[in-house]
Point group: C2
Chain length 219, copies 2
């Protein structure tokens, strides 16, 4: 089983054929965040938990959520975590090992996107490195652990980019179209529009410490 | 005069009434990057320089650009800088002090967006802190220098978010709805969805070193 979260980002950035995705994943555990909860209900999709402050939702919409979801986590608008982070904390509390896919985390407000990328650097979320993916219309984002990471081909998304998230030591790229000898990155840095080397079955990305964000994308 | 750059991001994320923006800024200096150059030409807008590898553009489109732009900087697809960074390097070469507004830098591919946010951390672009703004449909992004920054109201974009870009010392927020006592941030961190305190004419954000990204946004 996979845990899936629909955050409140703009619909236009949802993955292609998102309604088919919803239909095919009815056996998974689904969390809807704010408008994401309403979207799931309005599309007759699976929803297990709703999370949000729901302060920009009408009372009839809130009633609709209450009727359709057995568990609602109503959070205060004034809090130290974003609503999406609160969903992740709920998942971590359960001590589960499932993979997590986050939709609706991009598009529209860029501050929300930044929060959805940088939460991974907070110590309380470190167990999610390697387990969580952010998926939208053109991008698939994941996070790599230190060590030797093998990067496989994805026929649908040929571009491969690496974003060093702050302090990353001995970062190197090999068996790609553009390679990089080991170097220390102290600040965030974006190595974009790389591709795998077509003569290799997989690429290699290595580093000794820190977290690197992998973005696979298509035009 | 302002220097304006249209990068190749998705049209759907352009600022509201973008054609009016183009019409009103015919006295400014305009750079079109890749598809951005073609967009400016197709809309009969001002264009002074075109930058790009143009490898995903048809030969008739490239001819159109050549006919309409006196200066074309054709860059190799294999290079150390993104096309947008090459535009900025061109501007910096001229030793000008104008402000720069970057459009078409968001939406679609998130790796491109990341590159458009993190270039500011490279030493060669440090003179652009405080001078460059990234503007799209819902966001206005700028970068703050160390010291005491006064943050004014913007009636159109009530949400104010701060992203510490790596190593930022003694970062504090005051006279906002949610304040923060001085703390050191070693890794990127997103303080999102703040607002100015309505009883104050302006907010204050202070830090001793590093660069902080300010995102003003609306829903």
């Amino acid at each position: 089983m996979t845990i899936r979260i629909l955050a409140g980002g703009t619909k236009i950035n949802y993955p292609p054929n998102f309604e088919q995705v919803l239909e095919k994943t009815k056996n998974d555990f689904w969390i809807g965040v704010d408008y994401g909860a309403l979207y799931l209900i309005n599309h007759g999709a699976k929803i297990d938990v709703a999370v949000g402050d729901f302060d920009s939702i009408s009372s009839s919409e809130l009633e609709k959520i209450q009727k359709n979801v057995s568990r609602i986590i109503k959070v205060s608008p004034v809090k130290d975590y974003t609503d999406t982070e609160i969903s992740l904390i709920e998942i971590l509390k359960k001590d589960v090992t499932e993979n997590i896919i986050l939709y609706g985390a991009t598009g529209g407000r860029i501050d929300h996107l930044m929060a959805n990328l940088f939460f991974i650097l907070k110590p309380e979320f470190k167990d999610l490195v390697g387990r969580i993916k952010i998926v939208d219309l053109k991008n698939e984002i994941s996070f790599l652990k230190p060590g030797k990471n093998l990067i496989k081909h994805d026929a649908d998304k040929k571009y491969i980019s690496y974003i060093t998230l702050g302090d990353v030591r001995r970062f190197s790229i090999s068996k790609h179209k553009y390679n990089l000898e080991a170097r220390d990155e102290v600040l965030p840095n974006a190595y974009v529009s790389n591709e795998l080397n077509e003569h290799e079955s997989q690429g290699i990305v290595s580093f000794e410490s820190g977290i690197v964000c992998l973005i696979r994308s298509k035009d």
